[in-house]
């Protein structure tokens, strides 16, 4: 809220002008969302009743009529792809980073009828974001979380949305973040999955730390700075590699990576690569949460050569993240007590019970000879913890002797007084 500086004297002309400007901005922000909706409605030409459709009464209808937003999704059940699609209404997903990938992933989940979304971002929408999907130019200046929440609520009012506008890597916000993941579910329980759609290493490591501490399943996604490759990765703390278990992986590229870099540009981005990675990510979310097909543990994408490496990444027993090692110990203890749960990572989930197709007519006499998918799934996964698939190599070896030879001797500050040090530096 704009206000005048508290001074003893009367406000100056300049101060009053500044207040007018800030009040105008505030008014513009406050009126932006409704007017956008109205514009959308008049374009649709069907009146205000379509602005926000009514919330679904009780459950997802499978009725195939043009006013049912879920008919095509419920058809997945009829076709035997998903056993219980409607379970998605009970699930909560946290999207960390509502940028080029996160906003699109959030829209996909919203359209799929997810029960609840938690959004985390500290950024605002800028015109420089308009080469990506989802945000509109008229949302420039709004926080990404509030702009996204407004759009998503119109697309599907059945989805509960909880927006958090802060930087999760800030030490004073991290506890809030942990709390939200722990109790952000529809019934106050932990969320079902966390999606990392952030654009920097610090934030990924912060999510990794949070999820290792909470034993929270999460998926990581990323698009390279040159915008032509990306990846997704599934992390089940203690069972699959955490983000700190393996050194960053580099997908071999044809030609020299440096040639692709434009001088003087820190990060490029394409709506195509972002959209593809968001699609791969949410596809994996649906498979993982609704239990169909085989979720991937790592899937890379190189746009230049259409190269899609995939692999299982197992946890590193010597991971330097203590919470990761604790989850690995938890899992080992669980396996000792429940050997039946010791399915190999990457093994297929139990195949969904075959659902008879609704139509029993077979006028054309079509016969299914062999289900290729089944055959493929029954093949054992390639073993070997350290094996990387062809074309993928580590960026560096963390176990290699460090470059300590060049380091100066370690500082000895244990017995010094912090306040004295603070004063000494301040006086330099």
């Amino acid at each position: 809220m704009a206000s005048l500086p508290a001074t003893a004297t009367a406000p100056t002309y300049e101060e009053l002008q500044a207040v007018v400007v800030s009040l105008r901005e505030e008014l513009a922000r406050a009126t932006a969302a409704p007017s956008t909706l109205a514009a959308g409605a008049s374009r649709a030409g069907t009146g205000a009743e379509v602005l926000a459709r009514a919330r679904a009464q009780t459950s997802m209808s499978a009725e195939v009529v043009d006013w049912n937003p879920y008919s095509r999704l419920m058809a997945l059940q009829r076709m035997g792809v998903v056993t219980d699609y409607e379970r998605i209404r009970t699930l909560t997903v946290a999207v960390v980073g509502v940028g080029g990938v996160g906003s699109v992933a959030a829209e996909m989940l919203t359209r799929c009828g997810i029960g609840k979304l938690l959004l985390f971002d500290y950024d605002t929408v800028e015109l420089a974001n308009m080469n990506r999907l989802f945000f509109r130019p008229d949302q420039a200046g709004m926080t990404k979380t509030s702009a996204a929440a407004a759009t998503l609520a119109v697309i599907n009012p059945d989805v509960a949305i909880d927006a958090h506008h802060y930087n999760i890597t800030a030490p004073d916000k991290f506890d809030d973040f942990l709390d939200a993941l722990q109790s952000g579910g529809l019934a106050g329980q932990a969320v079902d999955l966390v999606l990392s759609c952030v654009d920097n290493f610090e934030a990924r490591m912060a999510i990794n730390q949070a999820c290792n501490e909470l034993g929270q399943d999460w998926m990581e996604s990323g698009v390279s700075e040159n915008a032509v490759s990306g990846h997704i990765q599934l992390m089940i703390p203690g069972r699959s590699a955490c983000f700190a278990c393996a050194p960053p992986l580099i997908v071999a590229r044809k030609g020299d990576e440096r040639e692709l870099k434009r001088e003087g540009v820190c990060a490029a981005s394409l709506p195509t690569t972002m959209g593809i990675v968001a699609g791969l990510l949410v596809q994996n979310v649906l498979k993982f949460l609704l239990g169909f097909g085989q979720p991937t543990y790592y899937l890379g994408y190189n746009a230049l050569s259409d190269f899609f490496p995939s692999m299982v990444l197992r946890p590193n027993p010597g991971c330097d993240n203590s919470a990761c090692r604790a989850r690995q110990a938890d899992w080992a203890a669980h396996i000792a007590a429940h050997p039946e749960d010791d399915t190999q990572l990457g093994a297929p989930p139990p195949p969904p019970p075959a659902v008879a197709p609704q139509s029993t007519e077979n006028a054309w006499g079509i016969v299914i000879e062999c289900d290729e998918g089944e055959e493929e799934r029954s093949q054992p996964t390639a073993g070997g913890d350290a094996e990387l698939v062809p074309g993928v190599r580590p960026a560096y070896n963390p176990d290699a002797p460090p470059t300590n030879d060049a380091l100066a001797p370690r500082v000895d500050a244990a017995d010094l007084d912090l306040d004295a040090l603070r004063a000494q530096l301040a006086n330099m």
């Binding site: 890597t169 004073d172 610090e202 370690r410």
Partner: protein, 209 residues
Amino acid sequence: MAAVDVTDTGAARVGDDDLNNLDEARAVKAQIPSLGVMAGPRDGEEWIARLKEEYAALIAYAGNNKANATDWFKIEANKSGTRWFGTCWYVHNLIRYEFELVVTVPVTFPKTSVAILLPELENKTPKMYRGGAICLTEHFHPLWARNVPHFGIAHALALGLAPWLAAEVPHLVAQGSIEPAAAASSGDGAAGSAVGNGAAYEYEYESDE
């Protein structure tokens, strides 16, 4: 900015070289005491031990700079040691340019490096992320990753910020987007009043109490 005649030599910009193998980086690493406590802002007493090391390394580095008349920054921290602020300056063609400096410590520190912000330069160079954080991805983050937990804030300034300034300031001057420091005492790196914006400085400190 027409007052300064600058020839853009097209010198190597940040990211063109892997600093790991440069003699310069070796020299800096040998000069700044290394750190050893593997603890971040959430680690209680251990973080205090780490913070002492951070201070001691910064004091040693700044003292060295002063002794060699290559002083180029002034920095202080809030009580919790999670936010550092001050000023840094760079001399180009005998003219001094000065910038407000902010260093933020992420919750994952020291596994991940600090962020270094020059808020005044936001939108003036593409080698920067939103919020004024300088781009460290190419030239410094890999180096930091290889030296955890031995690198501290002093190393981030010396090997992250200093080469960034050396590469970017000449460009910023050439395109006329920065002005010389108000009381430009040309050429003398060790010039007296390092802290420029006393008001903002005080405010940041107070805000953490």
